[in-house]
């Protein structure tokens, strides 16, 4: 177990270094933000003063070490656009994104897993068709389109919910639904297929043949094994959700991390873009790590494998 954990952590560090490199150099691949930050009338002297002030006139390698040293202590520098330290700006948006992701995930699990279980246990039934249709629908429908349709129906026509924003408690419902829908579909299909697969396994046949009631067979043997792959998927999906959804947060004017990312990218706000990219990567890496550990606890085959 220890060896397993250590190797996982070592991998995480390698990935982190890769992330640092990518974040820094890809952000710089298209030049520096001076031309976008300064008025078009700004004189060449003003531009070079800006570059000097921001340190963009130093060699890239030195800038990189500077960035790395800062990033490891959570200091990404000041946002060019907000003129405030980047990390607090990111953390400020985290609660909104967390709220959205948590509710979206909850909805996906509460609806998706039971539908998948029923569908897998009773293939061809009405519930199964419903679950499969929902699974297909949720993974193919463009979220931008769905979001707008929901706004038109529930906010403009029925006046049940606000179109956007985070002013009221109900405001989270539509964005959470749209965000969770993709995961919901994935969970339905995954649960269904793993139940189906396990139902055909030898040990289930054995359990049945020794006369266990179907309820016990399903509850004790099928369920436990079927839920195992879900742990991995849920962990990874949640990581992505925490990165904030660019499209959904934009359409619903939800003040989360995804929208901050979009704005900072179009403003070429280097420190903020780097901060967000690094922060989200760390979140995904940590969640993956936790996920691997949890998985190892649940399934002994992993830690000894």
């Amino acid at each position: 177990m220890q060896r397993y954990l250590l190797s996982r952590m070592a991998q995480a560090v390698v990935i982190l270094v890769g992330v640092l490199l990518l974040v820094f150099f890809m952000v710089r691949a298209t030049g520096d933000p001076a031309t976008l930050m300064m008025a078009k009338e700004a004189s060449p002297r003003q531009l070079s003063e800006f570059r000097h002030l921001m340190g963009y006139d130093r060699p890239l390698l030195i800038q990189f070490f500077d960035f790395t040293a800062g990033a490891l202590t959570g200091n990404f520098g000041d946002s060019l656009y907000y003129r405030l330290p980047a990390l607090p700006l990111i953390l400020e948006r985290l609660p909104a994104t967390l709220e959205l992701a948590a509710l979206g995930m909850l909805m996906a699990i509460v609806i998706g897993v039971p539908l998948g279980l029923i569908g897998g246990a009773t293939p061809g039934s009405l519930w199964d068709s419903l679950g499969r249709t929902l699974g297909l629908f949720s993974q193919t429908i463009p979220s931008f389109w769905l979001a707008l349709i929901m706004i038109i129906v529930f906010a403009v026509n029925l006046h049940w919910l606000p179109t956007s924003g985070r002013d009221s408690v109900q405001a989270v419902l539509m964005p959470a639904f749209v965000l969770g829908l993709g995961t919901l579909g994935r969970l339905v299909r995954l649960t269904r297929s793993s139940v189906l697969e396990i139902m055909g396994d030898d040990y289930v046949r054995t359990a049945r043949s020794k006369g266990l009631p179907p309820r016990i067979v399903f509850g004790r043997h099928v369920l436990k094994n079927a839920l195992m792959p879900l742990v991995a998927v849920i962990g990874v999906q949640f990581g992505y959700m925490l990165g904030g959804s660019l499209i959904i947060e934009n359409v619903f004017a939800w003040p989360g991390l995804g929208r901050l990312a979009v704005e900072s990218i179009s403003n070429r706000d280097f420190p903020l873009v780097q901060g967000i990219a690094f922060f989200t990567s760390v979140v995904v890496i940590v969640l993956n790590l936790l996920n691997d550990v949890a998985y190892a606890f649940i399934d002994p085959r992993i830690r000894y494998g």
Binding site: V19, G31, D32, Y81, V156, G165, V236, A261, I265, S281
Partner: protein, 552 residues
């Protein structure tokens, strides 16, 4: 999951983010495109613009003169902004939307009227010395800041000192004055090194702040909870969501403001703004597109407003670096290319017919705009002129464009290239990633032809003219000594009618010997609910809300 897979996932995440950076113009919302973000920020956002010609609005302001007897402010006005505003301290506001919201809490020394004049505001009168380098402002005596501090000459000097420091975003709008001194408690004197006609325009955007409060809370806290003399008082700023300001009960314009609360909601997606105004959640939605307008159709109780923005799209020539010795140095060739472009066709096909033909670098709402006709679309004339220039069979040339840098720009570039081709000028079009394009433009490394746009927010075309044509300017690719001299003279001409006449002369010169192909002035679209009256957006997409009212 194996490490390779994870690495590829992490890579994908970063790549996705970075790709968006690369093609930021391609980001889903056109909201970021117009003035503020994707395009180089063209002019200090916190300068208030003055507009010469009234723009076409839903409900023009009736009278801007304060009246003593008036009802108490009532109702809430809700305005949707297309950006998450980054700063509400006016001199630090990075773009127009933030500046519009912030300006509700402040007043300038002068007030720019919708027709381009300057009226008294915090200064009841002003005087410019004969040599044009000393500007004396007499201040109102009945003004207090939101925190109760009196507004005096000390506050003006303090504000100027605070915001003319180099780390202030638009310090240049303050440092236009070389010194600022107190004459007596209600008189201040600004001086400039040389006569500068633009000082009064900039003074209308100078935000006045209370020295004691600022000193006691410090710059960081002030930026989060600014205090001014303006019609509205700061109430609440939830980052990324909304800003709320409430009516200032002691406002010096008696009887104003008319509404007791303004809420600015930040809604980046134009389609959402359209739905929100339909649902009655917001009263004003700006930065819409012509397709949003189609969608709004004839929704009950909503008026769609459109007006030309003070921005010019153009094909630039180059006689400084890459264009030296090229055919475009010949006047006839540049004239020919102006005749060659089917501009009405471009406006019709690409912008649903919304937009105006550009006739020069002075915008329709700028001081001294000359109504002379734009060049007609006349390919035959273009061919004749090319023949006269010695290119009867045309020539080939490179042209660059900032891909997705502005709404519809890629289509415009292709249309222009094809029109040039029809008269024999074969264009090798290079649609470049916009930021890479601007980086090359700064280094003057673009080919002899390129397409870009330039906006001003001052109510005068001077910044655009000077930026594009004066010697050694960052984005100037054309130099004509005579023209440059006239532009330098502009700023020293304090008398407004003489300056207007000089703008006319410059336009004539730029029409007879064009340093650009003038394409079009774009239009801005806004939707306003009919319960709102007095709202009048101007050509710089700016507005004032002190005289706006709402009914139920």
């Amino acid at each position: 999951m194996n490490p390779l897979k994870r690495l590829s996932k992490a890579f994908f995440l970063i790549a996705a983010l970075t790709l968006m950076l690369g093609g930021c113009g391609a980001a889903p919302s056109p909201t970021s495109v117009p003035a503020a973000t994707t395009a180089p920020v063209v002019q200090p956002a916190n300068t208030t613009a003055a507009v010469v010609q009234p723009v076409n609005t839903a409900a023009p302001v009736a009278a801007a003169t304060p009246t003593a007897a008036a009802a108490k402010p009532k109702g809430t006005l809700t305005v949707a902004l297309s950006t998450d505003i980054a700063a509400i301290e006016l001199p630090q506001a990075p773009e127009r939307q933030a500046a519009n919201a912030a300006s509700t809490m402040y007043d300038g020394l002068l007030y720019p009227t919708a027709d381009g004049k300057l009226e008294p505001a915090l200064a009841e009168s002003w005087d410019v010395a004969a040599d044009g380098t000393t500007y004396t402002f007499k201040l109102r005596k009945d003004v207090t800041f939101h925190n109760g501090e009196p507004f005096t000459a000390d506050a003006v000097v303090f504000s100027w000192t605070t915001y003319s420091k180099p780390d202030v975003r638009y310090a240049s709008t303050w440092t236009i004055a070389d010194t600022m001194t107190k004459v007596d408690d209600y008189t201040v004197k600004a001086t400039t090194k040389s006569p500068n006609a633009l000082l009064l325009r900039y003074a209308s955007g100078w935000a006045m702040i209370p020295p004691k409060y600022y000193a006691s809370v410090g710059p960081q806290a002030f930026a989060q909870k600014p205090v001014g003399t303006g019609p509205f008082v700061f109430k609440e700023w939830i980052k990324g969501d909304h800003l709320t300001v409430t009516a200032n009960p002691n406002y010096w314009r008696k009887g104003y403001p008319k509404v007791d609360q303004v809420v600015f909601k930040f809604m980046p997606e134009p389609a959402t703004r359209v739905q929100a105004i339909k649902a009655g959640e917001i009263d004003i939605a700006s930065r819409l597109t012509s397709s949003n307008v189609k969608e709004l159709g004839s929704a009950a109780g909503i008026t769609v407003v459109h007006y030309p923005v003070d921005r010019v799209y153009y094909v630039a020539f180059n006689n400084v670096t890459s264009g030296k010795g090229q055919p475009t140095e010949k006047k006839e060739v540049r004239l020919a290319l102006n005749y060659a472009v089917n501009r009405p066709g471009i406006i019709k096909a690409i912008f649903d017919g919304y937009g105006q033909l550009a006739s020069g670098f002075v915008g329709t709402s700028d001081l001294g705009f000359d109504k002379s006709d734009p060049y007609p679309y006349d390919p035959a004339q273009a061919k004749t002129l090319l023949g006269l220039a010695g290119y009867p069979n045309g020539f080939a040339m490179d042209m660059s464009c900032p891909s997705n840098g502005y709404p519809g720009i890629n289509d415009v570039c292709q249309a222009v290239a094809s029109d040039f081709g029809k008269v024999g000028v074969k264009v090798n079009l290079n649609l470049m990633e916009a930021n890479a394009f601007w980086a090359l433009e700064e280094k003057k490394q673009l080919p002899p032809l390129y397409i870009d746009s330039w906006s001003v927010t001052l109510g005068e075309a001077y910044p655009r003219l000077s930026g594009a044509l004066a010697k050694d300017e960052t984005y100037a690719a054309w130099y004509d000594a005579g023209l440059a001299k006239m532009i330098t003279d502009l700023v020293a001409t304090i008398d407004i009618s003489k300056r207007a006449a000089l703008y006319g002369t410059i336009q004539k010169q730029m029409r007879d010997d064009p340093p650009f192909v003038y394409l079009y002035y774009p239009e801005a679209f806004e939707a306003v609910r009919s319960r709102v009256s007095g709202y009048q957006p101007r050509a710089a997409e700016d507005y004032f809300l002190w005289d706006v009212s709402v009914s139920n």
